[in-house]
């Protein structure tokens, strides 16, 4: 998770890395009490990069200008994010701007020092000149000096820049960070250095042992479009979109909610384990379907996950999935060594039964829905034959109208056939004790199969029919 600039600079200041005098601005009127002399720079405190180009940074010379600029910046969204705080900072005359970073290299399995003599807003020229030094043993300041030499620095800035790198490294290790970056590090005509902008990325696995960082994280607004989760993982570009709400769930080793993400198809996917979830999503697309949402209820390498917690997380995920009106079919894929198939089946049955009323509200009128009980398999015969074993007829059905007539007690408040469409579930479970699970879900028309690809193919066929 990325800290905001002003938070990064607080960490810098505590570590003895020089930063400019600055003041936090919570509302435009705060500028009337500004203690820094003009001219000052007002900077939008969002996590997105490219703030300058987007108009999130303004130089101001008077209070009137400053208040007007603050109004503009507070109302300026940068990559979907509005600032809750601005930073007012003194101006600095830099003769030269450097790029410095400490980052973790996964392949080397070491911290790496990065430096470029071309810092500032042009990332391309910074990249061209980027130098790196791998910290392959215990850190010692010579690693920092080695980087300054590769960067081409000479005379007394070698000492001052090495000192900054050393402090960045200490911050990196002491706070369990993924990244400490200063860009630019300004050097003024008298050779003094100043961290003009900075970025700190906190490691999500480790943040729970840093109460001070947790406090900072709670002040960062959540960005829309991120899923919830607690394992501190994102895919590729997601680091900017990670929800801060996920952080608190790391506390005290609590499990938090399962990962749940929304997509734009009509099939709900629930799996245990991240890689299995990805493989299952791939299969949905490969079978010609589109996922509406997916949930990873957690793999089996969580040290504190008990079988009861597992079932609880399944229930949470299934409730979220069923409540999603775009979901027409749900495939639940669970595989593992310590899975209690009976408990899983019971939890699914309970969820489906209890969700009756909310389904009534969220599903389209019956007139717009093809009756799912007849013919879906013949319609998709050619496709399903590829999997060979679909023989048990129209099994993939949990149609509420049907369920009600089968078992009126499921929905005690439904006195007459409701106007709603069906939602179907299919469950993939493995293990030796499957028969009782199959039996307990059969009355609800929820088939239990032991092949993942069969489960997905049937869910897709059903969803595409709707």
């Amino acid at each position: 998770m990325d800290l905001l600039e002003y938070q990064a600079k607080e960490l810098f200041r505590d570590m003895g890395i020089p930063v400019l005098p600055s003041q936090r601005i919570d509302r435009p009127s705060d500028l009337k009490g500004l203690k820094i002399p003009y001219p000052v720079v007002l900077k939008s405190q969002v996590r997105a990069g490219g703030r300058g180009k987007a108009g999130g940074i303004e130089f101001v010379t008077t209070t009137i200008d400053a208040v007007a600029a603050a109004h503009r910046i507070f109302n300026l969204s940068i990559m979907g994010e509005y600032p809750q705080v601005l930073l007012a900072e003194a101006k600095y005359n830099a003769l030269q701007e450097l790029y410095l970073a400490v980052v973790l290299d996964r392949a080397e399995r070491r911290a790496v020092l990065l430096g470029s003599s071309q810092g500032g807003t042009s990332t391309e020229s910074a990249m061209e000149k980027m130098q790196r030094v791998v910290v392959d043993e215990d850190f010692s300041p010579f690693y920092a000096r080695r980087l300054t030499q590769k960067m081409g620095l000479r005379s007394k800035v070698v000492i001052s820049v090495s000192d900054i790198i050393e402090r960045m490294y200490r911050l990196f290790v002491e706070q369990d960070l993924d990244l400490v970056e200063i860009n630019p590090l300004g050097i003024n005509p008298s050779g003094e250095v100043m961290a003009l902008d900075g970025k700190v990325t906190v490691n999500d696995e480790a943040i729970a042992r840093h109460p001070d960082l947790l406090q900072l994280a709670e002040k960062i607004p959540t960005v829309e479009g991120s899923g919830a989760g607690n394992d501190g993982a994102a895919i590729a570009t997601a680091t900017r979109n990670e929800p801060v709400s996920s952080i608190s769930s790391c506390l005290g080793g609590s499990l938090g909610a399962p990962h749940f993400s929304k997509l734009d198809g009509n099939i709900g996917i629930i799996c245990n384990g991240a890689a299995l979830t990805m493989a299952t999503l791939d299969l949905v697309y490969l079978c010609g379907g589109k996922p509406a949402c997916f949930a990873n209820i957690g793999g089996d390498t969580r040290w504190d996950l008990t079988p009861d917690d597992f079932v609880l997380r399944l229930t949470q995920a299934l409730n979220l999935t069923i409540a999603d009106a775009s979901v027409k079919a749900v495939a639940i894929d669970i595989i593992g060594s310590a899975i209690d198939c009976n408990a899983v089946a019971a939890a699914i049955a309970a969820c489906v039964q209890q969700s009756g009323r909310s389904l009534d509200r969220s599903i389209a009128p019956a007139s717009s829905v093809t009756k799912p009980l007849n013919g879906w398999d013949s319609h998709h015969n050619g496709f399903l034959n590829g999997f060979g074993e679909i023989s048990e007829g129209p099994a993939l059905n949990f149609d509420l109208r049907q369920a009600e007539s089968d078992s009126a007690s499921l929905f005690s408040e439904s006195s007459q056939p409701q106007r709603h469409g069906g939602i179907s579930l299919i469950v993939r479970l493995c293990g030796t004790d499957l028969e009782p699970a199959k039996k307990s879900l059969a009355p609800l028309n929820i088939p239990v199969v032991d092949s993942l690809e069969e489960a997905i193919a049937r869910a897709v066929a059903y969803a595409n029919k709707i």
């Binding site: 790029y99 970073a101 980052v103 973790l104 290299d105 996964r106 392949a107 399995r109 070491r110 911290a111 990332t123 990249m127 392959d136 290790v173 369990d176 993924d178 990244l179 970025k199 490691n203 999500d204 696995e205 480790a206 479009g225 899923g227 394992d231 501190g232 994102a234 895919i235 590729a236 570009t237 997601a238 680091t239 979109n241 080793g253 990962h259 993400s261 245990n272 991240a274 890689a275 299995l276 990805m278 493989a279 999503l281 791939d282 697309y285 490969l286 990873n296 793999g299 089996d300 390498t301 969580r302 040290w303 008990t306 595989i335 060594s337 310590a338 493995c430 293990g431 993942l452 690809e453």
Partner: protein, 309 residues
Amino acid sequence: MNLKPDSKVLVQGITEPLGSIHAARMKAGGTNVVAGVSPGHGSEKLHDIPVFDLIEQALSAVGQVDVSVIFSAPFEACDCAFEAIAAGIRQIIIITEGVPPLDMVRLVRKAEATETLIVGPGTPGIIIPGKLLLGTHPADFYTKGPVGLLGRSGTLTYEIALELTNAGLGQSIALGIGGDAIVGSSFPQWLQILDEDDHTEVIVLVGEIGGFSEEAAAKYISEAIDKPVIAYVAGRHAPKGKRLGHAGNLIAAQISAGNPDKVSPSGADPETAQSKISAFKQAKIPVADRPSQIPELVKKALKHGVKKK
């Protein structure tokens, strides 16, 4: 790697929720679990396994052990591994996921200096079907045979094992190197071990998006591996910006100037499934589109025997 059916196994974190479940399963499956360690639980017994506060106490009671399997909490896992190394244990499996990466950096340095093999963190461990279970693998999904199965994390590895077993293809060994961002042993290390293993005739490598392990594996296979390898990569359709649950799926850190370490052999976006699949294809390694396709590719590879170099 030095593992035998009668290897003596220590379980650290044996009283934790996951450790307790799997210590019992490992023992029930015939693995020689000789002792457990859980601070504060010394002189107790769990599943008929004696529990100690410290490894050195355990070893003076049961003698030297061959491997330790760690189920302790993420913030304690590396300390447990350091304790094991200090006690002379040179094979360590860290099942626990979510170990802070900088802890692992320190541990990896120590492991290199002491020639200790570390598997994980975030791993289902190792199974040698019919002989030895060190971790969370469901033993009944596996059977003896010629396939060396190499994955990253738990449940997808089980899924592939089940596909193989159902198709009549048993496994010589199966393991996950771990889903965490920094892991103790890499695909190339294990490819080398499996290449030298007499019981392994073909290797199945199960990759996923994130990091560069698969790219490194593809390069290593084309340079140094004689046995045929089949690959599969999960995450072709993984939506960008959605969380799935592995720290290993996270780009190391997004420095604003871009990451100078990112080199993709194909020119595809690094860390994506596309990049990994094209790396395998460039190395002439068959890539399965879906799990059920793996057995037929394995059968084809077994028929053709050793890869022509």
